[in-house]
Amino acid sequence: MRALGPLAHEISLVLRGLNETHMKELFTIALLTGSLPLLAVDFNRDVRPILSDTCFKCHGPGKAEGDLRLDDREDALDAGVLSPGNVEKSEVVARLKSDDPEELMPPPDAHKTLTPEQIQILETWIAEGAVYDEHWSLVPAKRDVTIKSLDHFIDKRLAEEELKPTPEADQRTLIRRVTLDLTGLPPTPEEVEAFVKDSSPEAYGKLVDRLLASEHYGERMALAWMDAARYGDTSVMHADGPRDMWPWRDWVIKAYNTNMPFDQFTVEQLAGDLIPNATVSQKIASGFNRNHATSDEGGAFPEELRVEYVADRVQTTANVWMGLTMECSQCHDHKYDPISQKEYFQFFAYFNNTTDPGMQTRDGNQAPVVEVPDEARTARLAELHKQIEDSEQKLEAHRANSATTPEFAAWLKQVEEGASIDGQEKQPAGLVHWFPIEASAQDFRDGVSGSTVTAEKGKFEVADREGSEVLKLNGNTQFKTDAPVNLEYNKPFSFSVWLKPDGKASGAIFSRMDDKAAYRGFDLWMEGGRIGTHIVNTWQENALKVVSTDSLAPGKWQHLVLSYDGSHKAAGVKIYLDGKLSSNEVQADSLSATIATSEPFRIGSRSTGSNWKGELGELRIYDRVLEGADVGAASKGDPVKSILTTPAGQRSESDRRVLLARYLGTADQIFKKLGEARQKVLKQHADLDRKPVTSMVMQDNPDNKMRMTYILERGAYDSPRKDQALQPGVPKALPPMPANAPANRLGLANWLIAPNHPLTARVAVNRYWMIFFGEGLVRSVGDFGAQGTSPTHPELLDWLALDFVESDWDVKRMIKQLVSSNAYQRSSRLESLHRDRDSENELLARAPRFRLQGEFIRDQALAISGLLNPEIGGAGVKPYQPVNIWNEVSLNGGLRYPQDKGEKLYRRSMYTYWKRSSPMPNMLIFDAPSREKCVIQRQRTNTPLQALVTLNDPQFVEAGRAFAQRILQSAETDPDKRIDLGYRLATARPAAQREIEILTKLLEENRARFRENPESAKQFLATGESPRDESIDAIEHAAWTVVAQTILNLDESLTRN
């Protein structure tokens, strides 16, 4: 706290004769012109923090105990507790000093005590007239336009404090500092040398421009934003299932790299979806407010969750853009800042009209989503499609050839010899499709056409029916096939199938139907246990639907035949359950046109759902009406056997195809291999095609379905005060919403970036300041309210904020300005005078020195060792993680961490898959937040677990090995020069002689150690999946790995100097 000198007293005496308005103006002039030293009590800087922290909770915006509010001058004067200019008459002071516990303020049970110094400040303030100022952050910023450099403000304070700043840092320190700050990666030795050699005055400016143009700049800035935006790859609550929000992250990286102005950055993220004719990119941006935690917990109350999501959006938006702790007023008026509970819910109303539900999915993205165009994926799909076609052609060619090969003839002869059946097994003619499951349970295809059946959803699972394999459908699984199941409305057909329904639920047992084209096609349908069919041109006006009146029993095998005579009439449908003809109920009978569709034939569902649950076997389709004995015959026997016992001359074309299919499916190795190859590409295609990449977005209900917003009593979702519906609105203490602004998020976003908004620009530049100076000018970066800290350099903050607005929110320009300042470029050496006078470095007489954030420590190790994969953007990756971290905590304990291989192990840490209930431990240990909630300011701790990470984590052990390999493979052969190279790579400077000596000794010790036990050298070098250069002697490599690891663990390497 600044000493209040005698001069202040004199000033106050002079001013006492003036009225308050004059006084305020005079003070303002004094402050702005800087013509008087800052010695008087300043309400915002000195008084408000005391009142806020100790008084406002009971006598503030949210509460007026004893009818007294101390945040409002008129109120305090009316209550008679403040006598401006008269300390003795002011009860406030008497209460602060009272010996009587009944009288004493704050009361003892508040656990707040004022220091004598604080009481002194309040007394001086009252003596000087008890002037109130509006809270500094709510007053529009002002600036002196004649000042051209931010250093002016820093230097002025230093001069006042008579503190001499440190000299400029040397060039090596400087290039490493600014490269790490702007890209999160270290400079290469070549970059360092080039910079050192460039003695031109523009050298530093050029360096900064180069770094700002690097794509890694966007990554670096995005990482900071990911904390604030609570980015994660999982949904947080209950199952904490996966989601894909990385397209949003890619958007952020790109926004920074293309230097999107901050106002646009704001509008697109808060309301991109509401921008007229919003682009896909703008919709993706709106996903900012879909990053919050969501739940899928079975027993939960959806509305409770939904309200929680909206509250999170309010909190995050207010914290990030305004530095306001708006969340405090969810349950009651804010105790410290001018935000009432009603105002809170007016603000809440902006976010309360979204369409996403309270209960969300545990697997993937919850609607609303937008499909993300992905050129690489589209190209890959086309490529796979081509491969599928190729493989099909090969199969077809082979099939066509096989009918006449001697191998087939030999096989046929052999099977004909052994074939015999009794009369009952004689099969009906006209079999056109048949889907047996071969005993191997590997192969599933149409036994007539040979077309393969592929799982479209779910897995291929088999069950058993009297010793033969059948298909199991779990209510989600479905299969599709290219088998040409071409049935028509005017041609007869019959279905024969064994069924064991799981229950009575409805569903399509099989179909060839296009749900989206008025259900054109046909199906075999179950409805409450009854069986029927839809044969449809256009549902419902040109269609036929018949359902049996008898039902199938659940859990029991029953045989079904459904025949259709091609008459277009419902009367032409006959249904036999276990051979017994059922009577039918006709539900539609108006069919008169084609039922052809391009949808494939499916087993287990229709084109968009209606999945059936149960087991199914021996599905056969005939091109004629089955009746009489054929109905029973279709239920048993093997069609192949039946054909084999038919004299060859009497076999139909279809019969011959069945035989060929059996031959190909069971005895032809080439066909099998071709089939497997086709299966493989089909699966790849299906996997990729099944999941188009989406990103979750914001979306509002239409105007006529707006959700009403009410004040929630004590913030509880189930206690709305229904007597008063609220319209969206902003707090009175802030600028009003323009009258013509839309009452939605778009209006809100535009309001935030209006030039007269007192908070947005200040909060934004303060956050940039924190990134490059370690702390904000306002140290409570997330709280610009009364309980936050005052700016260390208020005029500087305002100057920067207005500069930012006037530059049209040019982010790169602002950042260039910060890192080009003298304050930024100083040495970080801690002089004893600085330590004594300004240990927290508020005055910036020295550059801040701090540990790199965890992500950059890992990225740097990868970069230095040459392992880094610098690919930008894309989905999360899964590098090394100790075993069982996920299953230990996951729902049902079965969730394993599927570690990636190869290049993905070496991506930058910002792409590490972020599972928020169990985040990557080597990053958590370095203070990475779980990102379950918005975090504006990271902690920066120093712990032994961090040492264990950089010494023992396989990622770092491997980096040490690769770093050593890089040194040993370099042109340097002299050991001293090699150590020097290590230093240049890690610290951007040459090694000092003493450092070389220390590491040489370490090298020799380890050489000796490994030589004594060569096996241990091999073990030590075995960590990590990247291959080792085997031409390097293992003992030498291991010893150098110890040296390399030591360099990576230097305080200097881990620190941004």
């Binding site: 677990l945 010790e1005 960590t1023 100097n1057």
Partner: protein, 487 residues
């Protein structure tokens, strides 16, 4: 993690919290760990922590918390009334249920038949306390050493919010866990060990998820987060040196590193560099200390037998209980055991039997073991889950089977040690074990009581975050220490 680091982190936080009015005296207390040890009245030193703590002489030096994840059925374990035999099969009256909201899992039922426990209960101990004698024979044997509380309650009725609430004092994510508050407030008694450790055992029923936030540090510095000790692989992540690189080799490397870092300190005079040197040394000592603690070879047979046959199985609850005692002896401040698998929506009779087989003997053994060593006097032991279960059957009630849904209106926990009354019951519920009729204990009260045992006034353990003096027990609702259960 609460390793004391001499200058940096603590001082920065301290200055931040206390504004500019930091007195030299306060700083010297902070920097002189010995002062705290003496304030506790014991021989254990303390490292880190706040100078103002303890606020008063505490009874406990440490806490062992056996957390039963999933919500154990209070009705089937402790909160028994013979009248429930008559209520069996009857419909839960509206007058009892009132407007209680039900979870989405049973709200669709059209019948809510009450279920009496399908087990035998007995009266045990001096005060003839009801305990399920089929399931908890060993716990029944220690009722004279513990206080059973039957009137816990929570607002949450689903796992994620409820388990988050009881462990962090808030249903929302982002708040520090109880253990990290303790680490922040009290520091640790053994600087070579984490001050807050967590061990997880699997259980045999439906496993509800756990979350790092349950032992996370929220807005407190990350070093206060709980460290998971693991039964397989390395006991602490990254503790083991790489293969082929032994302890001697590491020692030599750290000596070189220290020398190099000292050169760096000479250049920049940054105290953080000194702090880093000492953190590397602590890591090295920890590498020696932790594995020894995890190794139970040296435990005498009679002790191992006390914990039951599963003690030989790494990762079992029994093993973790024994390890907890070993940690407690070594000065770990807060040891939390999570045992999973209590979420018995269906087949409760068979599943709760399995769960109790796993936990009954070890939990009782821990109390006996601590008591025999005189450690129960200054160790607070807590047993319980995030909520209880309903009197009514979830799903069909048959002759020998039923389930129970979540129930937050009342549930049972027990505590022992550190001046908690021995052989005591607290709180009463109605005949249906559905509503509390006497002495309700909110989980805020429970947490306030735990802090009280350690000499902490829960109202005064605060951390300024987002403009508020945040507390474990919340900034709004008043929490009360349950004085009645304290001797």
């Amino acid at each position: 993690m609460n390793y004391f680091d001499p200058i940096i982190e603590n001082r920065r936080q301290f200055l931040l919290r206390n504004g500019n009015g930091l007195g030299a005296a306060a700083l010297s207390t902070l920097l002189n760990p010995g002062l705290l040890g003496s304030a506790l009245g014991g021989e254990m030193p303390a490292y880190g922590g706040l100078p103002s703590i303890p606020h008063f002489p505490g009874k406990a030096k440490r806490v062992i918390y056996m957390f039963m994840s999933g919500g154990p059925s209070h009705i089937d374990l402790f909160d028994y009334k013979p009248i429930q035999r008559d209520l069996h099969g009857t419909e839960l009256p509206d007058s009892v249920r009132q407007d209680q909201r039900l979870t989405g899992m049973s709200s669709g039922q059209n019948s809510f038949p009450c279920v009496a426990p399908m087990f035998e209960f007995g009266k045990f101990g001096e005060h003839q306390t009801w305990v399920n004698k089929d399931l908890l024979p060993h716990t029944a044997g220690i009722v004279d050493k513990i206080t059973i509380m039957k009137s816990l309650h929570t607002e949450a009725v689903n796992h994620d919010p409820a388990i988050t609430f009881i462990n962090t004092g808030s249903q929302q994510q982002g708040k520090p866990s109880l253990g990290s508050w303790l680490s922040y407030g009290m520091g640790t008694m053994n600087e070579n060990m984490p001050g807050y450790v967590v061990m997880i055992s699997r259980g045999r029923g439906q496993l509800q998820a756990l979350y790092d936030r349950l032992w996370g540090s929220g807005f407190l510095p990350a070093k206060h987060q709980g460290v998971k000790l693991r039964s397989a692989g390395e006991p602490v992540l990254f503790l083991k040196n790489p293969e082929g690189f032994g302890r001697d080799a590491r020692r030599g490397q750290l000596d070189s590193l220290k020398e190099l870092n000292e050169l760096n300190y000479d250049k920049f005079a940054d105290p953080e560099t000194q702090a880093r040197i000492s953190q590397y040394e602590l890591a090295f000592r920890m590498q020696a200390e932790v594995p020894g603690l995890m190794d139970i070879e040296g435990e005498p047979d009679h002790v191992k037998e006390l914990y039951g046959p599963q003690v030989d199985k790494p990762g079992s609850f029994a093993r973790n209980c024994l390890l907890a005692r070993r940690m407690a002896e070594k000065g770990v401040r807060y040891i939390q055991l999570f045992h999973r698998g209590w979420d018995q929506h269906g087949s409760l009779p068979s599943k709760i039997t399995q769960q109790c087989e796993d936990i009954d003997q070890p939990a009782a053994a821990l109390i006996k073991d601590l008591d025999q060593r005189g450690m129960l006097d200054d160790t607070l032991v807590v047993w319980g889950g995030e909520f209880g279960r309903t009197i009514y059957s979830q799903g069909q009630l048959t002759k020998d089977n039923h389930g129970r849904d979540h129930h937050g209106r009342c549930f049972s926990m027990w505590m022992a040690g550190a001046g908690v009354k021995r052989g005591f019951e607290y709180g009463k519920t109605d005949d249906h074990s559905y509503n509390i009729i006497e002495n309700p204990v909110h989980i805020r009260d429970l947490n306030a009581t735990i802090l009280d045992r350690l000499g902490i006034d829960h109202r005064k353990l605060t951390f300024k975050f987002q403009g508020l003096d945040q507390r474990l027990t919340g900034v709004e609702e008043e929490a009360h220490v349950i004085k009645d259960i304290l001797g």
